[in-house]
Symmetry: C2
Subunit: 319 residues, 2 copies
Amino acid sequence: MTNIKDLAKLAGVSVTTVSRVLNDHPYVSKEKRDAVLKAIEATNYYKNINAVHLSKGKTNMMGVVVPFIDHTYFAFLIKGIAKQALKNNYKLVLFQTEYQKERELEALEMLKLKQIDSLIFCSRACDFAIIEEHMSFGPIVLCEHIEGKRISSSYVNQYNVFFEALEYLFEKGHHRIGYSIGRRTGTNSYEREMAYRDFLTKYQLPLHQEYIIDGCLYFEDSEKVMKRIKQMAKPPTALLITSDQVAAGIVTYCQANGIAIPEELSIIGFDNQPIAKMMNITTIDIPLFEMGENLFLQAVAEEISNKEMSVKLIERGTA
Amino acid sequence: MTNIKDLAKLAGVSVTTVSRVLNDHPYVSKEKRDAVLKAIEATNYYKNINAVHLSKGKTNMMGVVVPFIDHTYFAFLIKGIAKQALKNNYKLVLFQTEYQKERELEALEMLKLKQIDSLIFCSRACDFAIIEEHMSFGPIVLCEHIEGKRISSSYVNQYNVFFEALEYLFEKGHHRIGYSIGRRTGTNSYEREMAYRDFLTKYQLPLHQEYIIDGCLYFEDSEKVMKRIKQMAKPPTALLITSDQVAAGIVTYCQANGIAIPEELSIIGFDNQPIAKMMNITTIDIPLFEMGENLFLQAVAEEISNKEMSVKLIERGTA
DNA sequence: TTGTACGCGTTATCAG
DNA sequence: CTGATAACGCGTACAA
């Protein structure tokens, strides 16, 4: 494998000069440049990027942590990140954690070892303290808002969104409202639960733990939701479904089983994914793609910033 | 940042010795090892992995090329790859190409520059010749079968699968059969089209170009399919849908629009995704996860191998 | 069992 | 404008 030294010898110049033409640096005469270029041609030389990485202490690689690669929510996020990565000449290293802390740690470790320059956590299971410990090794960006901590993030104000959606349903006459969610833990889920509790308190509604349905991520999880509801003596009349995928599944289920939407059951989805539009599902528009772009930009930025994404309710036919 | 040299000085040993304990190599006395370990503790030293990469000429990173990250088919594949990557201590670098050749080239370039050790193409737009040119830089694995070429691959015999599915529909009395597909180009699509043509020829059926519906990847693309069909004077009575996502969309559409399945329209999906099971869709089971695992293993293997995945028709309610 | 010395390939500094 | 030369940090023959 020919290297920069060989080129230098071949072109009759120094390695410095070779490096200069390789990186389009100024201060090199046309003759020498051509000589180097010729040598490059002749040897079909190519850089060893690892040497560059070592020398620069930088890899132009960014880590992206997601629990599930096949979940639409994260896929959209990644799409946004990938767009900016392409634009800024970064490569993406993907970590699928399934919410296992060791895997999240692996990503952090790579940041520490300088294999990646920065790291985006689209979601996490580990303690914030662990994240904090690694912040000195490179930029880390989160998808949640952590009060009083100096760390970049792009996030949705889950509390407000949830509260508003609940009020919307309440105004439509619903007093028994439930919700489905991916997991109960995590900042975002916590915010939602707070909103839910505060909403119930505000309107003096009772809290039914069974109205909160956990582990709902995919289209097919809708079956679980519906079966759960069927067994209830007093089932909710409206549901906040924190993924349009699941919402679509529920709508499908109801169509197949003769349950009228929104008359018998109202549904509000989340994300405003294409499937929600196609199926005319009322949903909360969350600009995931844009959020992904933000995340990337924040991960390469010098300063810390926090960006709250603007969301809005899209009124359609299911609520 | 403390390095191996500092450690050596601190522990009063040579860098070699440090390197030995760092990498669990034999031939180092307990005292020296402890001394080194102590130095490591004291300095909270950690490796610069890029130096390792340079020195070893290897990164333990694997590239994965997919056109669309948010497509379930590829997500499943990646899941399988990710599982083995984790097991074998490899990291994944993701390339979302949207079938743009330059982006595929970027991935190949990274292989050339040794930033990744090997490369998996889950799908591609570029010429095979380009791939071939890069095979000397590291293992490349494909998801298609290319006759007479020495390159590893895990693939489905698209021709046979398609032909059998078509015959299944024919036996059910269908003479007007169409199909939807992600794109018309590519080895796999070509094989399917060949099967389709041969099937028509075998039963002396006419070829309607309009029965082949292109650009169908996502759930919501089903709308396009159905609208297209509606406009036909003689619409197909059965459809092979090369993604369960799209098939699910079609079933949903039909339910909402009072089209009886399978009486008025028969549907066979592809992949046997969870959504197909939930919606009782007849489909072709393709072990994507396992295929992903294979791809990884082939990408780290010394020898070239070709693995045809076994598939089977899952009879359910839509055909 | 231990250490010296060099290689890995590139970039950056600094003197000319 | 050009070129020595010193990093960058680690692995590893080879010698001892």
